[in-house]
C-alpha cells in the first residue's frame, strides 16, 4: 500500500490528467472559447472576463507546482547503478515500459557512460552488444521493451548464450498502458538461455541485482543476464538513494592444484600431444600463454573456429604430423573439436578443461554430448593456464626438452607445408566472375596488413579464406561466429564490434553474407547515425546458399530431380541492390561489383573513407562459396 501511495504510477497519471482536464473545462472560459473556435460550429464572440475574473487572473500569487512533476525519479538512481558498473553504451529500440529509465539516461545521466545507441530492432541491440563484448571483453547494456522487445531480442540472446558472451540486458515491465506489453514473469520468455534473471521490487534490490548480474555475466562461463526494471520503480519519486553494493569482480573458477599437476604430468610424458582450443582466449594475454604452453610441449594447436586462440602463422599452428597420443581440449564444444576424430581413431588419451557444463540448462543442449575424457576438469581454461604453465615448466627435464625440440621442428615443417597448400588453391577461380572468395580476401590483405585491422564477421560462409591468407596474431583479428548458428547476427554484431574497435583506431572489416543482411538491415542506419567506421563487403551470392545445397541433396535422395531446389532458397527475381539499400540508410556504397579487376580500386576507396571515420558498403557479387 505504501508503494501505491508514494508513487505516481501510469494509471494514477492518466486519472490525474483526466481530472485536471475536467477542472479546466469547468473553470476556464477562455479555454472553452478557444476550443469552440477550433470546432466545426461558427465561431462565437468570446465573452469578456468579468471584473472579478480579471482581478483573480492578474493578482500576483505563489506559483502552484503541478503534481505531474517528479524531478527526482527512481530511474535516476538506476542510472547511478548502471554508471557504477562502467558500462559505455546502451543499445535500444525505444519502448514505453522503460521510458522513465530512457529519460534518466539521456538527461540525468547526460547520455554519457552509457551513451544511447538507437537501434531499429531489439535483435540488433543485443547482437551489437554481442559483437562489442567479443572485442572489449565486457558487457554493453541492451534495453528491451516489455514482452514484445524481449521476444524480438530472443534469437540474438540465444546466439550470445551459445557463444558464451556476456551481455547485460534490462527489460521494462509493469507498463499498464498496453496490457499485451506486460507479463507476470518477464524473464520466463528467455530464462532457458540467460545465465540469470531477476525482477527486483525495490530500488535497493535493483542495485543488488544489477551488481550481481554483471558479475555473473562476466564470471566464466560468461553469458547474457537479464534484470527487469519495473515501470513503477523507474517512475516513482526517489526519496532516499539506497546503497550501491561495492563492485569487485570475483576471480574466475580455475582448476585445483591437484588436477593441474596431473594434467601437467600427462602432457610432459606424452610423445605427441595436441592442443584443441575452442573458446579459450578472451584476451591477448591468454593467447600468449597458450603460445608458451604449446612451445614448452612442442604441441600443435588447431586454428580457426570460434575465435583467435593462437596465432595462425605460428610454426605450431595446425595439425602437425603423426598421430596424437594425448589431446588437451580447452573450452572446446563437445570436448573433441578438431582432433576428436583423431583421438577416436588413435585411442589417444584425452584431457578436457572446460567451464561449459556449468552453463547446462534442461531445455537447450548447446553443449552437445557431455565431454568424455581420461581427465575431466570443470574449470575455466583461461584461468587455469598460468598454473598449468608453472607445473609444466617444473616437469620438463633436459631429456624431454630435446625430444620436444625435435618434434617441434617436424610439426613446424608439416604445418608450413599445409599452410602453403592452403594458399595455393586460391588460384582456382581467381579470375572468375562472379568474384571468388579467395580473390576477395586476397585483394583485401595487402590493403589492410599494415593497418591495425579486425575482422568482425564470421568466416564460415566465406570459405575460411581470411584465416588462410591473413596473419591473425591478435585476439581482435577474428571474433568468430554466431554462437548458436542464428542468422541475423552478422550485420549488427559487426557494427557492435566496430564500435568497440573505434576507440582504438582499428580498421574493422565485415564480409557480410546477403541472407544475414536481410534479417534487420536497419543496423546500417545505426552505423551511419552513430558514425561507426566499418567496411562492409557484401558476399552477395544471391541466396541462402547452404540451404540450396541441402534442398538439392534432399531432392536427389528422393530421386525427384533438382531443378526446383532454388525455390525458397535463392534471393533472385529481383536481385537485391545492396548499394542502394545502404545509400537509403545514408551510407556511402558502391556496387554491384562482379568483375574481379574492379575489386581492388573499390576496396581502396572504401578503406580510405572508413579510415576517416564513416561506415562504407561495397556490394560484391560472389561465387556461392
Amino acid at each position: 500500500m505504501a508503494k501505491k501511495n508514494a508513487s505516481l504510477n501510469r494509471r494514477g497519471f492518466l486519472k490525474g490528467a483526466a481530472a485536471g482536464a475536467a477542472a479546466l473545462v469547468a473553470t476556464a472560459p477562455a479555454a472553452n472559447a478557444q476550443r469552440a473556435q477550433r470546432g466545426a460550429a461558427p465561431a462565437a464572440t468570446a465573452p469578456q472576463p468579468s471584473e472579478a475574473q480579471l482581478a483573480a487572473d492578474t493578482t500576483p500569487r505563489p506559483a502552484q507546482v503541478s503534481t505531474r512533476i517528479i524531478e527526482k525519479p527512481g530511474s535516476d538512481f538506476m542510472v547511478d547503478v548502471i554508471k557504477s558498473l562502467g558500462i559505455e553504451y546502451v543499445a535500444a529500440n525505444p519502448g514505453s515500459s522503460f521510458e522513465g529509465l530512457h529519460e534518466s539516461l539521456i538527461n540525468y545521466g547526460e547520455n554519457k557512460m552509457p551513451e544511447f545507441l538507437t537501434c531499429t530492432h531489439e535483435e540488433n541491440a543485443v547482437a551489437m552488444a554481442h559483437g562489442y563484448a567479443k572485442i572489449e571483453n565486457k558487457p554493453m547494456l541492451a534495453l528491451l521493451h516489455g514482452t514484445i522487445g524481449v521476444q524480438h531480442a530472443a534469437m540474438a540472446i540465444y546466439n550470445a548464450y551459445g557463444d558464451r558472451v556476456p551481455i547485460f540486458m534490462m527489460a521494462g515491465a509493469g507498463d499498464t498502458a498496453v496490457p499485451a506489453h506486460n507479463a507476470v514473469d518477464m524473464g520466463s520468455m528467455v530464462r532457458d538461455f540467460v545465465k540469470w534473471d531477476h525482477q527486483p521490487t525495490t530500488l535497493a534490490q535493483f542495485a543488488n541485482s544489477c551488481v550481481r548480474a554483471y558479475k555473473l555475466a562476466m564470471t566464466p562461463p560468461t553469458a547474457p543476464v537479464l534484470v527487469i526494471a519495473e515501470s513503477d520503480l523507474q517512475e516513482r519519486p526517489l526519496e532516499q538513494k539506497p546503497n550501491i553494493p561495492k563492485f569487485v569482480m570475483p576471480a574466475a573458477p580455475a582448476a585445483d592444484l591437484g588436477s593441474v599437476r596431473e594434467m601437467a604430468k600427462m602432457l610432459v610424458a606424452a610423445e605427441n600431444p595436441r592442443i584443441n582450443a575452442g573458446r579459450v582466449a578472451r584476451s591477448q594475454k591468454s593467447i600468449e600463454q597458450l603460445v608458451e604452453l604449446a612451445e614448452l610441449l612442442g604441441a600443435p594447436v588447431n586454428v580457426g573456429g570460434d575465435r583467435v586462440n593462437f596465432p595462425n602463422r605460428h610454426p605450431l599452428a595446425g595439425n602437425g604430423t603423426g598421430q596424437p597420443d594425448l589431446i588437451l581440449s580447452l573450452e572446446a564444444a563437445g570436448g573433441g573439436g578438431g582432433f576428436g576424430q583423431n583421438a577416436a581413431n588413435n585411442r589417444a588419451k584425452t584431457i578436457n578443461v572446460s567451464s561449459l557444463e556449468l552453463l547446462a540448462t534442461h531445455n537447450f543442449n548447446i553443449n552437445g554430448n557431455p565431454p568424455q575424457a581420461d581427465l575431466l576438469i570443470t574449470a575455466d581454461a583461461e584461468a587455469t593456464l598460468p598454473a598449468l604453465l608453472e607445473e609444466v615448466k617444473k616437469l620438463i627435464t633436459a631429456d624431454r626438452k630435446r625430444v620436444i625440440q625435435e618434434r617441434t621442428a617436424k610439426h613446424a615443417q608439416a604445418n608450413d607445408k599445409a599452410r602453403l597448400e592452403g594458399k595455393e588453391v586460391a588460384r582456382f577461380g581467381w579470375d572468375s566472375s562472379p568474384v571468388s572468395l579467395a580473390r576477395l580476401a586476397g585483394e583485401l590483405w595487402p590493403l589492410i596488413k599494415n593497418e591495425d585491422w579486425s575482422l568482425v564477421s564470421p568466416q564460415g560462409f566465406v570459405g575460411g579464406w581470411p584465416g588462410r591468407l591473413w596473419n591473425m596474431d591478435k585476439h581482435y583479428r577474428y571474433i568468430g561466429g554466431q554462437g548458436a548458428g542464428g542468422m541475423g547476427y552478422g550485420a549488427p554484431a559487426s557494427v557492435g564490434a566496430a564500435l568497440a574497435n573505434r576507440k582504438y583506431g582499428r580498421l574493422s572489416i565485415n564480409i557480410q553474407t546477403d541472407g544475414d543482411m536481410n534479417y534487420s538491415p536497419g543496423i546500417l542506419w545505426t552505423a551511419v547515425h552513430h558514425k561507426i567506421p566499418l567496411l562492409t563487403i557484401m558476399h552477395n551470392n544471391r541466396g541462402y546458399h547452404q540451404e540450396v545445397m541441402f534442398v538439392q541433396q534432399m531432392c536427389s535422395e528422393r530421386n525427384r530431380g533438382v531443378d526446383r531446389a532454388h525455390i525458397g532458397t535463392t534471393l533472385r527475381e529481383p536481385n537485391i541492390d545492396y548499394a542502394k539499400m545502404a545509400q537509403a540508410y545514408g551510407m556511402y556504397a558502391e556496387g554491384p561489383i562482379s568483375d574481379p579487376k574492379d575489386l581492388a580500386p573499390a576496396l581502396k576507396r572504401g578503406i580510405e573513407r572508413v579510415k576517416k571515420g564513416e561506415p562504407v558498403m561495397l556490394d560484391v557479387i560472389t561465387q556461392p562459396r
Binding site: 572468375s432 579467395a438 586476397g442 538439392q552 530421386n559
Partner: protein
C-alpha cells in the same frame, strides 16, 4: 541348298562388319552439347557446390577432373562422397550428363599460384 565354305565365310565376315559399328554405337556415350550443358549447370544448381566456373565451392574442382564423359556419368549415378548427391538416369538422363560434361570441359585450369603476382606475394609471406 549347299553352301560352300567360302560363301559361309563371306557371310560371316560381312555380317560381323555390319554388326560391329551398330554395337559400338549403342555403347558409346552420346555427344554432349555445350549450350544445353550450360543451361543445365545453372538449372540443376551444380554451381552451388562447384562454383559458376567449376573451380570453387565446397564440392570437387570440376575444372581439374580426370574423368572422361563415361566416368563422369558413372560418378554422378554413384558418387563416392557423401556431399555429392546421387543423380539417376531418371532425373539426369545420359544425354544431359553428356551435355553437362561438355560444358564443364570448356573451363580451363587457372594459372599456377606462383604465376599470379598477388598470390605469389601471399605465398611468400611467412
Amino acid at each position: 541348298m549347299k553352301i560352300s565354305k567360302l560363301t559361309l565365310l563371306v557371310v560371316v565376315v560381312v555380317t560381323a562388319a555390319l554388326l560391329v559399328p551398330t554395337m559400338a554405337l549403342s555403347q558409346a556415350p552420346p555427344a554432349g552439347n555445350v549450350d544445353n550443358g550450360k543451361e543445365l549447370f545453372l538449372k540443376y544448381s551444380c554451381y552451388a557446390c562447384h562454383g559458376y566456373t567449376a573451380q570453387t565451392g565446397n564440392g570437387a574442382r570440376l575444372v581439374s577432373t580426370k574423368l572422361n564423359q563415361q566416368g563422369f556419368t558413372n560418378y554422378i549415378r554413384n558418387p563416392r562422397t557423401n556431399g555429392m548427391p546421387t543423380y539417376t538416369a531418371k532425373v539426369v538422363p545420359d544425354q544431359q550428363a553428356a551435355d553437362l560434361f561438355a560444358y564443364i570441359k570448356t573451363f580451363k585450369e587457372p594459372p599456377a599460384a606462383r604465376d599470379i603476382p598477388l598470390l605469389n606475394q601471399l605465398l611468400n609471406e611467412k
